[in-house]
């Protein structure tokens, strides 16, 4: 069935003489116009997002350098990647990063939303304040953190030093470089805060009133009302974050470390870029992308199961 011609269109439109046949009538009808409104978005995303994402999967089974036509090589790209220490390291870095960054970002977003959701003249500007780092251009954001994390001159180590705390080498050591990337990602949670705020708005105040009448404390209200209502929003946020936070490592790893030190910040997007646009191994890059798809899908399924099990336990 096509989106364009459904019976409802004809039913709502009375017998008016069509000026330019069926199309003219369609364009004048309310439902026809509604479908037309969606056309640029649907067509554009099909060409610019869906088709490229799907065709990349096909590319994964070919040898392709973007100039000569692709040739079928079966699973060779996957075999090469599984044997490549750099690809394995990059997957490991990416997963480690996700396991640290996503939960912290989620807790941060919900915590800040709860703190700043109250009415009151002061909270509007405070919400703007916590949102600010999210809108800094990524290229500038990377430069700022390169300065903040500079072990000798940077303001972070100056602050830590004056407090008598240890002053790590941040981007120079592999472990602290990975921590630095997690830290950077914790400041750009504006989108999550907004989604959590919107989610909080959907909770009817009556529920809290009822809970208070029943003598429930604040913690009980949070666990029994706020969190369950927020759960679908938080799930959406988690899934989106799994995708977004990893793709956002591209600019800092490209600008600040170029994957170093010792490949510690070679996350999946940077390796994909190197494979495709440095080595012109589009097939290998596509295969690597497919592996990352599969891992992300596994994570999503895992989280859904986890939450599903918890809810069952709650009911019982």
């Amino acid at each position: 069935m096509s989106i364009v011609t459904s019976p409802s269109t004809r039913a709502t439109e009375p017998k008016r003489p069509p000026a330019r046949g069926g199309l003219g009538r369609f364009l004048r009808s309310y439902d026809g116009q509604l479908r037309l409104f969606l056309l640029p978005f649907l067509l554009g995303t099909a060409i610019l997002i869906v088709a490229p994402a799907v065709l990349t999967v096909g590319l994964a089974f070919t040898k392709y350098n973007s100039i000569n036509p692709p040739t079928w090589v079966g699973l060779e790209n996957f075999k090469n990647l599984l044997a490549s220490p750099l690809a394995r390291l990059s997957v490991r870095n990416s997963l480690l990063f996700l396991f640290m960054a996503v939960p912290l970002r989620l807790v941060g977003a919900v915590g800040i939303a709860l703190l700043l959701s109250r009415p009151g003249r002061i909270f509007g500007p405070l919400r703007a304040g916590v949102y600010l780092p999210t809108i800094i251009p990524e290229g500038a954001y990377a430069l700022i953190w390169l300065w903040i994390l500079n072990p000798l001159y940077g303001p972070l180590n100056a602050a830590l030093g004056s407090l008598g705390l240890p002053t790590p080498d941040w981007l120079i050591q592999p472990d602290t470089a990975q921590l630095s990337f997690v830290m950077m990602s914790l400041f750009t949670i504006g989108e999550g805060i907004i989604v959590a705020l919107v989610g909080l708005r959907t909770i009817p105040g009556v529920l809290y009133e009822a809970a208070r009448v029943d003598g429930a404390g604040r913690w009980q209200a949070f666990w029994r009302i706020t969190l369950p209502v927020l759960t679908p929003w938080l799930l959406l946020l988690t899934f989106r974050d799994l995708v977004v936070v990893l793709q956002n490592t591209f600019t800092p790893s490209f600008v600040m470390t170029y994957g170093g030190p010792y490949y510690a910040t070679t996350y999946a997007p940077l390796l994909l870029f190197e494979l495709a646009f440095d080595m012109f191994d589009f097939g290998g890059a596509a295969a690597f992308m497919v592996i990352m798809y599969a891992l992300t899908a596994l994570l999503v399924v895992g989280i859904v199961n986890l939450v599903g099990l918890n809810q069952d336990a709650d009911v019982a």
């Binding site: 439902d31 509604l34 640029p40 554009g44 995303t45 973007s66």
Partner: protein
């Protein structure tokens, strides 16, 4: 709700958090005002002893800034209105569509959100190359005609879903077509969302670093975020200069955000909806 539960503590915690989040911006600006060649500060320096704007002038001497600024402006002037238009129309269309198509397209839109950007890099490069748009600013603008990001469509969808259906029904009964209903009734009611989408769309195109890196390779087509990185190749340890560059591209974004944020982050916009339940 529990108003009396330590409002002062809540405000204090909120202020501390906001200060922490604004800190990177503060350090960027103070760092950009430091005279070049000054020995590094050994403690946290909140304001340079001899603040100067000379670093900003130096950038204009070193780089063809006029061209970068023109390119960046061209992209946002075309892309932001196009994004707003397509996203608002699609969001309205989605909110008024009948079942089962509404649910189906809603799922489609949410699935789009989950597709990682790197997944489309390779083939979009191919598509742009076929269209002859590689190293053209249109390579950056093109997504604007597909609503920029599915998130923006969803924002409008949520807004129009919350609007009572009777508003739109009344217009329809009086013979208004969908276009008029959208323009005269729906959009004037969606001001906070419009403000938010303008900010997000501007951020999408003005801040964009990845797409220029992937699809622009002629220096005369570089936009500001890419152009600024050349400073790092010229003099990678001249921090005041690098930070002045960072400030330069951040400032327009921050100003736009601060002007429009009241529309969607301010109390009236939020509390009106908070109190509705």
């Amino acid at each position: 709700m529990w108003r009396k539960a330590g409002p002062a503590a809540r405000v204090a915690a909120g202020i501390a958090l906001a200060v922490l989040f604004v800190l990177p911006l503060v350090w960027m600006i103070t760092g950009s005002l430091r005279p070049t060649g000054l020995p590094p500060a050994r403690t946290v320096e909140w304001w340079p002893s001899d603040p100067q704007l000379s670093n900003y002038a130096a950038i204009f001497d070193l780089l063809p800034m006029g061209r970068y600024i023109r390119n960046s402006l061209f992209v946002v002037v075309v892309a932001v209105p196009a994004t707003l238009f397509t996203a608002a129309l699609a969001g309205f269309g989605l909110s008024q569509l009948r079942q089962p198509w509404q649910s189906r397209l809603l799922i489609y839109t949410v699935v789009l959100l989950m597709i990682p950007a790197p997944a489309v890099w390779l083939f979009r490069y191919q598509i742009l190359s076929w269209l002859g748009l590689l190293s053209s600013l249109w390579a950056l603008i093109l997504p604007a005609f597909a609503a920029g990001s599915p998130l923006l469509v969803l924002l409008f969808y949520w807004t129009f879903r919350r609007t009572p259906a009777s508003f739109f029904e009344a217009a329809r009964v009086e013979g208004a077509d969908a276009w008029t209903t959208w323009r005269r009734i729906a959009m004037p009611m969606a001001r906070p969302t419009t403000a938010a989408v303008i900010v997000l769309a501007f951020a999408l195109f003005w801040n964009d670093f990845t797409n220029p890196v992937l699809y622009l390779y002629r220096p005369d087509t570089y936009t500001l975020p890419v152009g600024i990185q050349i400073l790092k190749q010229v003099d990678s340890t001249n921090w005041p200069l690098l930070l002045a560059g960072a400030t330069l591209i951040t400032l327009p974004m921050v100003v736009l955000f601060l002007v429009l944020q009241r529309q969607f982050l301010h109390d009236d916009a939020l509390s009106e909806l908070l109190d509705r339940g």
